[in-house]
């Protein structure tokens, strides 16, 4: 069970909803991924095109927990405003705090992320900050009362996978709230690795939506996350430099 604030989830995959080739593919990908948490962004409507379809209308909103993000915010104030707009929909009280500090790398601004998280916690939100893989920053966010910590594996949408497994494992070891590896996942291997490191969940988007076959990849990610989690719980064997035979050495018939 993944517990985030007052909520419990049996799936450890959080799925983004951006950049799918079409709604049908997206719907099927969401379905086979068995995710229970979908992320969204908050944007101005195009009021001149009221009939423009929206993915929210294509799914059973009751079945999913919505995790809107504050993407687009460059300051804590902008993130807080976006979060409040999202909550006023009456559909959610979780928020992914995302305050981008640098356009090229899309790396989060730690100071503004901390400020926004603090303010949103005071406003009663369930706060999940997207953060860098800085161990102390993760600690500080937890001390504030954040309900989960979401360190990036590598830059958003880069598909580079987990660049700093050591830092991620330090964050996981230290945290008493769920750690969800967010951003940079490229393939099922990366998702499994995050889970084997002991992460409580993985949030990904482009790895599925941008795959050649998004529906297949959605299923692959689901399985990878389950396999990684099981592997973590099972406890892997220590690494050794030299071989140890798996077959018994006794009773070998020497011809």
């Amino acid at each position: 069970m993944l517990k985030i604030g007052p909520y419990e989830f049996s799936s450890r995959l959080l799925l983004g909803t951006g950049k799918y080739p079409d709604f049908e593919t997206q719907k099927e990908a969401v379905n086979v991924s068995e995710t229970e948490i979908l992320t969204f962004s908050v944007r101005r409507m195009n009021i001149f095109k009221p009939d423009q379809p929206n993915f929210l209308e294509k799914i059973d909103v009751e079945k999913y927990s919505l995790l809107p993000n504050t993407a687009g915010a460059k300051t804590a104030d902008e993130a807080v405003r976006t979060a409040k707009l999202a909550k006023a929909s009456g559909l959610c009280d979780m928020i992914k705090v995302e305050v981008i500090g640098d356009e090229k790398t899309l790396l989060p601004d730690p100071v503004e992320t901390l400020k926004a998280s603090e303010e949103l916690l005071n406003e009663g939100f369930i706060v999940l900050p997207y953060t860098s893989d800085d161990v102390m920053l993760a600690s500080r966010l937890e001390e504030l009362g954040c309900h989960a910590i979401m360190p990036g594996a590598s830059p958003i949408g880069s598909g580079q996978g987990i660049i700093n497994p050591l830092n991620l494992s330090f964050i996981i070891e230290k945290a008493n709230v769920p750690v969800i590896v967010d951003a940079g996942i490229g393939s099922p291997k990366d998702a499994a690795m995050a889970m084997e490191l002991g992460a409580d969940g993985v949030l990904l988007n482009t790895a599925v939506s941008g795959a050649e076959h998004p529906v297949k990849m959605a299923r692959a990610m689901k399985l990878a996350i389950e396999a990684g989690r099981l592997g973590y719980e099972a406890g892997r064997i220590p690494r050794k430099r030299y071989a140890t035979a798996s077959s018994p050495t006794e009773g070998m018939s020497i011809g």
Partner: protein
Amino acid sequence: MQLLINGDYMEIPSEIDSVSSLLSYLKLDDKVVVVELNGKILEKENQSQSLSDGDKLELVHFVGGG
């Protein structure tokens, strides 16, 4: 009545005098829309709030994102 909606000035018939009637007028009443009126976010139950000339509105919704 002139309103500033999502950064564009729009001329709206004067009988459209509340946020909820504006949403129907724009054919957005069955959508998930969040309204910010003059910088203040409206909770759903306050969408009957009346409008006056020169009001500034932001209409936002959820779109795909990660």
